[in-house]
């Protein structure tokens, strides 16, 4: 109910369109309602003809012209009504779609960690469509139909109150039945929607993970998984359709019964001379007018049920407050000096399992910090907190002494360049991908950034150069190329603070070296956080911090850390003895350092 009210609110925001639609509907209805009177009049005229044998061409012609005139008016007003209500529904859909888009793109990472893309998509597509349908059907047509019902009832009651009551007698049972089913259908629709969402998730994963599916030859397994969801969707939809059919058939049935009653009892009145045949015709014609709305009621109920569940799903997202909010008096920072301080920062994704505990450090402007640690030790989390992709649970992070929560998100992130672990490229040209964070960058700047990322030669060799379009998720670039794209993207931003999350891990040694050289020059004058698995990159850092289970267990420069026996040295040693020992243990012929040979 709440959802419906909100949708109504959204529609009423467009006052003029609503008014236009209602006025046109009222006009069309009025014109429509005059029709039976003239047709009935003509029938009475013809009855006279039947009795007298004379043809009063004049009166018939007048009736015919009146019918024609009314129909012209009605036709154009119907057009206006349909168009106005369509415009209204499109406008509501447009707003909701944009709101949804904007809301989702501003949600913190915590939200996106939990939401399936497929699920969000189905909300944005089919649920918005359901809401749109409802605006059209529910908000414009329903009052129109109700008004039509009331007008027809009044006219019928005026004509003959007893027969009028009888002709309206189908309403209560039909309404009762509909409202009963409405509740049931709503929950079924909600369930069907969820199932549909699961189905699309299964499909999407199958498609995005196609290489895994193929590599495991798990097509049948996948098919079974899909089939289960598929059956559930079909079963629920059939049940919803069944209720819908029941409702539609029953409503029509009550209407036909009422029509029969009118013919029967009205016929008796005509026989008794209490009513003319023309008046009975009017009755029947009026009821005919009601036939369309009656047919539509079940559709309205359907639209209502769908809109209620769709609205619920949509508003659930739209009402979800991003945990990362800009504070009311947030300040704009122009260009940060780059002094980053973590003050006893703790963090948890779910409030139960602490991911970071008491992280405390300060980085002076222009310095390079390397983060090291096992998977899940919290390295990525540390850097995700700086641009406020998540907010700290306790403690605070400051940039140039200002709490990041007191700064506008836009200006905060403008000052931070990030190369993420999972590089996402957009389906657009290479040029636009590099310029993603600075759409107005000049071509020279873009080329410069590409050169820094060692990507320029590759791009220039492409037939379309910088205008080459990139496929979904950049799948047409190799991992190394994608990473360099991401680096170029960050370089172009010229940020005082730079975050490199694993950025060179999947580049071959040659490329990596090139990138490293490039990055070194890029890092100059910027505060840089590097998460890398190679000591080669890390060694150059001014400070190395080793994380374990969300805590900093060691920090210092490379040489300092090497001198103390600690986790860093352990890692260091492990790195330096790669295959050697491991392989020696195995009875394998590979491997191994010089003295391994006898």
């Amino acid at each position: 109910m709440n959802e419906i009210l909100r949708i109504v609110g959204l529609a009423f925001a467009h006052k003029r369109l609503c008014a236009a639609a209602y006025l046109a509907a009222a006009g069309a209805a009025t014109a429509y309602l005059f029709l039976p009177k003239f047709i009935g009049g003509a029938v009475d005229d013809i009855t006279e003809i039947a009795e007298t044998g004379e043809v009063p061409q004049g009166t018939i012609l007048v009736a015919v012209l009146a019918i024609l005139g009314l129909s012209v008016v009605r036709g154009f007003l119907s057009f206006a009504q349909t168009f106005a209500s369509e415009s209204l529904s499109q406008r509501v859909a447009y707003r909701v779609r944009n709101q949804f888009y904007d809301h989702v793109q501003r949600m913190s990472f915590g939200f996106h960690d939990k939401q399936h893309t497929g699920n969000l998509m189905s909300r944005a597509i089919s649920d918005v469509e359901s809401v749109r349908m409802f605006v059209n059907m529910g908000i414009i047509r329903t009052p129109y139909f109700i008004a039509l019902f009331i007008a027809v009832s009044v006219l019928l009651l005026q004509l003959d109150w007893r027969l009028g009551l009888i002709s309206m007698s189908f309403l209560p049972p039909a309404a009762f039945q509909s409202s009963l089913l409405r509740l049931k259908m709503r929950s079924i629709w909600l369930r069907a929607h969820e199932k549909m969402g699961e189905l699309s998730t299964a499909l999407q994963e199958n498609l995005t993970g196609v290489r895994v599916v193929r590599a495991f030859a798990s097509e049948e397994y996948e098919q079974e998984k899909f089939e289960r969801k598929n059956i559930e969707v079909a079963t629920d939809t059939i049940e919803a359709e069944r209720l819908h059919s029941l409702n539609a058939s029953f409503t029509l049935f009550t209407f036909v019964v009422a029509l029969g009653l009118v013919l029967w009892l009205g016929g008796r009145e005509v026989i008794n001379g209490q009513m003319s045949l023309g008046e009975l015709t009017q009755f029947i014609l009026f009821m005919q007018i009601l036939a369309m709305p009656v047919r539509m009621t079940s559709m309205l109920v359907h639209a209502y049920a769908r809109a209620a569940s769709a609205g619920q799903r949509l508003f659930e997202i739209l009402d979800f407050e991003s945990p990362v909010q800009e504070s009311p008096g947030a300040e704009e920072i122009t260009r940060s000096g780059g002094r980053v301080r973590f003050n006893n920062v703790s963090f948890s994704y779910d409030d139960r399992h602490p991911v970071l505990k008491g992280i405390d450090f300060e980085v002076q402007p222009g310095k390079v910090v390397a983060l090291l640690g096992a998977p899940g030790s919290g390295k990525s989390t540390v850097v995700d907190l700086i641009p406020r992709f998540y907010d700290v649970r306790s403690g605070r992070i400051t940039i140039d002494g200002m709490d990041v929560r007191d700064v506008t998100l836009e200006s905060l992130r403008r000052n931070i360049g990030i190369v993420q672990q999972d590089n996402f490229l957009f389906t657009t040209s290479i040029r636009d991908n590099i310029a993603y964070g600075r759409p107005h960058a000049t071509m020279d700047e873009i080329v410069e950034a590409a050169k820094v990322a060692q990507l320029h030669d590759f791009i220039s060799a492409l037939p379309d150069g910088y205008d080459t379009e990139i496929g979904e998720r950049g799948s047409t670039l190799s991992g190394g190329q994608r990473q360099r794209m991401a680096i170029a993207r960050a370089v172009l931003l010229d940020p005082p603070i730079l975050i490199l999350d694993d950025s060179t891990s999947s580049v071959d040694a040659g490329t990596e070296e090139l990138i490293r050289q490039a990055m070194e020059s890029v890092m100059k004058g910027r505060t840089t956080f590097v998460i890398a698995h190679r000591l080669g990159t890390i060694q150059k850092a001014d400070t190395i911090m080793v994380l374990k289970d969300g805590e900093i267990v060691q920090r210092g420069t490379h040489s300092e850390l090497l001198q103390s026996r600690g986790p860093y040295r352990e890692i260091y040693e492990l790195q330096l003895r790669p295959q050697e020992e491991i392989m020696r243990e195995v009875d394998m012929p590979m491997a191994i350092g010089g003295e391994a040979l006898p």
Binding site: N206, S249, Q288, G376, S475, L576
Partner: protein
Amino acid sequence: MMGGMFAGAPKGTAGDEETFGKVYDKRVVTKVLPYILVHRNLAILAFVAMLVFSATQVAFPWMIKVGIDRFITGGDFAGLTWVFGIFIGLAALNFGSNYIQQLAMAKVGQGVLFGLRRDMFAHLQKLSLSFYDKTEVGRIMSRVQGDVGQLQEFMSLVVVTLGDLLSLAGIVAALLLLNLKLGLISMTVLPVFAIVLMVWQPFAIRAYVRVRTSASIVNGALNENISGVRVVQSMNRQEKNLRDFDAKTQDVQKSNLYASRLSAGLLPPVDILMAVAIGLSLFFGSGMVADGALELGAMIAFVLYIQRFFDPIRNLTMQYSQLQRSMASGIRIFELLDKEPDLVDSPDATPLPRLRGEVELRNVSFGYSPDEDVTRNVSLKIEAGQTVAIVGPTGAGKTTLVSLLARFYDVKRDRGAILVDGRDIRDVTRGSLASQMSMVLQEPFLFSGTVRENIKYNHTDVSDLQMTEAAMAVGAHEFISRLEDGYDTYLEERGGNLSVGQRQLLSFARAIVADPRILVLDEATANIDSYTEMLVQKALRRLLQGRTAIVIAHRLSTILGAHKIVVLAKGEIIEVGTHSQLMNLDGLYSHLYHMNFDAMEKSADQSGKMAENGQAIAQTNDTNEKASVTGHGTVEVDLSPGAQNDSSDGHSEPAVNDKPASANGTHAKQPETKPARVKSS
């Protein structure tokens, strides 16, 4: 790898496939038919019920006519009561048939959609990866979801439309039966209406095509923004994206408004023509009544019929766009279903028996697009149980090579062959090959579901013990146990609640559970930190035992243990040999190696102080003294210290024909046999 990918039309535009506007397409209808025929009995039931329903619908005005002409004008109330009785009986029949037709039709419809979805999914499993390289996931999604959804609308529409057509036929019959002359006169409006429709149709077709195009662009943009939200936020693109998106949604709105103006535009002609028909029948009817040629009740029935006559037509025009949309969807669905899988098992393909694991590539050339080869004339032989490392710069064709081995793509018959245990992989069933191969990819992909489901992926019969062992073997058990629900922890989409490294460990466990004969690691350890990598290496040692393995890695440390190292550049094998052999060759491999080393050296110089032994070598701790004295010691984390060695245990290398090259830590010593240096053409 780039040749194929940039060929073809730019992606991200929707223009190429939105050019349909037909309301009726024979191909679609004939293709949907088999899906309906599966539910033949239900469909027949639905049709019969529909006939009954339409008949009752047409019968009601007729009963009114009978009531008026026979009984009301004659003053026979008892007779009228009979009519009423029949009326009620018809109403009951109307109710029953209506319910049955709708329900049966819903069942048929859902059955058809179910079948279509199932077949599309199954078909998608058969299409080769070249299809996926060229087609965006979003677009396939919109076919299976959106287009099938359109067909769902279509199905419910079919009921209404078919019912409408039947009543239309019934009404025409009734009109002509009531009075042939008047019937024909009142139907003179039909040709006029036909002309209106003919003028209207081309506009409508174009309008709805535009609607669909703009909608699919919006959906694409939305999908991308959600998937790339992390980049969007870090690049601060929200404002600009919203503006761009706004332009797209405005276009949707505009095209929809134009289309709805068109569809609403039919309302005035329909209303006016109906009035004309009623006027005509009243005008001429009155004369006939005067002549006694027409009864009064029949006259009234005429008006009632004409009013109903336009209802179906009105509905049909309102449904027009939906019909068109459904046909376009149908075309797209069958276009996908008709897409010949370009990688099919040959008819006489036989399943592979359990493999020893011997792999041979014979002069393999392959390109994603015909004009550019990604691999050229690659020949390589891998003995069963051997580990081969493939190295080379980005874009050299490493991933392509292993994709060919996994038969993600097929090598053309005249462009070389890949053999496993001496059998051409194109002559065996792909399933039997793939089930004996595991691949661990650079970007670990997990499915939403529990950790357990992910490790036991496709091997649900594996015991929990085996699963735990696999997890322990790759060092994943520890972190899994710490998860909230352990192995039953639900993983978000693509394992989003795990770090990339953790995801990779799970994918290793998954590969172990699959127990493959041939294992392919495509930069699988790139995202794992060194400590974990060491654990994984240990696990790999066990994993690789008795299996053939092909390892692609950038980290030379991962590579050093291989029996054979293959250096790939620009799609060709340029060097093959063991580490020491290749080092002595002073080719690309040693170049790559030194690049790492030199960089390391430089950085070590800068930091100044690490080498206890005075060498500018960064590692000097006691446990590693060997490395520091080896001379070419490598210290870069990427490189393993010490010289490498090779087949000292007697594994001989037919392809390379090398003897143990005991470099033994120095560059100086030449291998006794020259490693192969493949001539590049």
